[in-house]
């Protein structure tokens, strides 16, 4: 029986979680030198922008923030067919010797991150690439793990994690919904 959607993070909790992630990213990098954030289209981009603002408030410098659309690096074109390319890739600086942190909303199978790693390799050779995700829902199909995790949740494959953010959806909230229910 489909359950009612369950809120994992409300607006205040989401803000608090991002703040902690911002601190952890700076800690992981031992500062903000050579640090570059890259958000994955779509919601990862807005989350990365917020983390950059939080780091600027805490630490001073505004670190570069790029965007990555991995649609063209997916491994399911033959089966799923072309998806609309939703957003632009924006990485106007060299990534050589930079500490890149990929930011995404939900980590699930790991295939999106695999594609993002392939795409980043076409833009240079970073010193290190780390992964920061707002929600880790388990269910990996590839040997990929996140370095910074906002919230770990146990979600069965029949359920879906929906991340709503103010910039795109008009509200900040993370909910777990049953896969066939409408949000």
């Amino acid at each position: 029986m489909p359950k009612k959607p369950e809120t994992v993070l409300d607006a205040r909790a989401l803000d608090r979680t991002l703040r902690r992630m911002a601190d952890q990213i700076v800690e992981l990098n031992s500062g903000t030198d050579a640090l570059v954030l890259v958000g994955i289209q779509r919601r990862g981009v807005q989350l990365a922008e917020r983390i950059v603002r939080m780091i600027a408030t805490q630490e001073g410098p505004t670190i570069p923030c790029g965007a990555l659309d991995i649609t063209l690096y997916r491994d399911d074109l033959q089966t799923v067919g072309p998806r609309p390319v939703v957003g632009a890739t924006y990485l106007p600086w060299t990534l050589d010797d930079q500490n890149v942190v990929i930011v995404d909303d939900v980590l699930y199978t790991g295939r999106t991150v695999r594609a993002a790693l392939d795409e980043l390799a076409d833009f240079g050779r970073p010193a290190r690439i780390a992964l920061a995700v707002l929600i880790d829902r388990g269910g990996r199909e590839l040997p990929i793990h996140a370095d910074v995790v906002g919230r770990k949740v146990d979600v069965s494959s029949g359920q879906r994690v929906d991340v709503f953010i103010d910039e795109l959806d008009g509200r900040d909230e993370v909910v777990i919904a049953s896969r066939n229910s409408e949000d």
């Binding site: 063209l72 690096y73 074109l77 033959q78 799923v80 067919g81 609309p84 076409d122 879906r160």
Partner: protein, 319 residues
């Protein structure tokens, strides 16, 4: 599914306004790939595309080849000279032989109108029309639309005049279909001998004088005057053509607004277009070339993969 163009791209007459917009919207992010240091994404890795050209072509073939290679497809160019085609093999036999070598797509240019459709109905591979006779040249039409949309935003109510040899031009036909579907007003201007008799039935305004077209239009798409038309008796001489129909600086100076200048190339400078117009501040002729690669990448991408039965199955099991 959001991305559907179907199996083939044969002409803009077959596409809906939404499908045309889908290609243009998809082409925009593809432009960025050509700006990268590594101008390549792995999207079509493992796919084989044959560029089958029964007519000489430089820019269209190169543009397709760039698009294919930047998407990581494997490409083979077959030109008429030196192939079995010159030994009398038919279009279908050539394509079936290629298909027996396991290819995925064919980009075809052919002097006969309807050749692309003829082929598409007989082979499994996706077929992209790169110009068939005087019928259509859909990717040229799409890149013209993208170039106009870059400058104008919405094309609704914009006035585009196609100048020159409309009678023999597949570019003109694809443009008229595409522009009309996106809500633009289309004019044509040229000697009556180079305009189709039934042109009025395509919903376009006919101008006999280039000066009147310039007064009316927001943009001119100036077609190449095929030099062999003169031998065919369609026009008295190139000089006279330039004097009566040539787009010159002086004529444009009389326009009430700045006109955007398009030309599908290759240009006959001093015949249909003067050099100071072609190289002038309102010329978007090189933007068209850049957009050509992006539009072709978008078309290849949208036609690739997408086997609906697998897509449905994947949707049921995927996030």
């Amino acid at each position: 599914m959001a991305g559907s163009l179907g199996k083939d791209l044969l002409g803009l007459a077959d596409l809906s306004a939404d499908q045309i917009r889908l290609v243009l919207d998809t082409a925009v992010p593809f432009r960025e790939i050509s700006e990268r240091q590594i101008k390549k994404v792995p999207t079509l890795r493992g796919m084989t595309i044959v560029n089958l050209f029964f007519e000489p072509s430089t820019r269209t073939r190169i543009s397709f080849e760039f698009a294919e290679k930047r998407l990581s497809a494997d490409t083979v160019n077959v030109a008429v000279a030196g192939s079995s085609v010159s030994k009398g093999e038919t279009l279908v036999d050539t394509a079936r032989n290629l298909e027996a070598m396991k290819i995925d797509m064919v980009v075809v240019r052919h002097p006969a109108s309807g050749a692309a459709r003829f082929l598409a109905e007989r082979i499994e591979s996706n077929v992209i029309n790169a110009g068939d006779g005087t019928h259509e040249h859909p990717t040229q039409g799409l890149l013209d639309l993208l170039t106009l949309r870059d400058k104008f935003g919405d094309l609704t109510g914009k006035r585009i005049c196609i100048c020159g040899d409309v009678l023999h031009s597949r570019v003109a036909r694809s443009n008229i279909w595409g522009l009309t579907k996106l809500g633009a007003e289309v004019g044509v201007c040229g000697p009556r001998s180079l305009l189709p008799n039934a042109i009025g039935e395509m919903g376009v305004t006919v101008f006999d004088r280039i000066e009147d077209a310039i007064q009316w239009a927001d943009a001119l798409n100036i077609l190449r005057l095929q030099l062999e038309r003169m031998q065919g008796g369609y026009i008295p001489s190139l000089r006279e053509y330039n004097r009566v129909f040539g787009v010159t600086r002086a004529r444009l100076d009389a326009a009430p607004r700045d006109l955007l200048i398009l030309h599908p190339g290759p240009m006959n400078r001093g015949v249909e277009i003067d050099s100071d117009v072609a190289d002038g501040p309102h010329s978007v002729i090189l933007n068209q070339v850049t957009n050509g690669v992006a539009v072709r990448m978008a078309v290849l991408y949208l036609l690739a993969g997408g086997r609906p039965e697998l897509a449905e199955a994947a949707k049921r099991g995927a996030p």
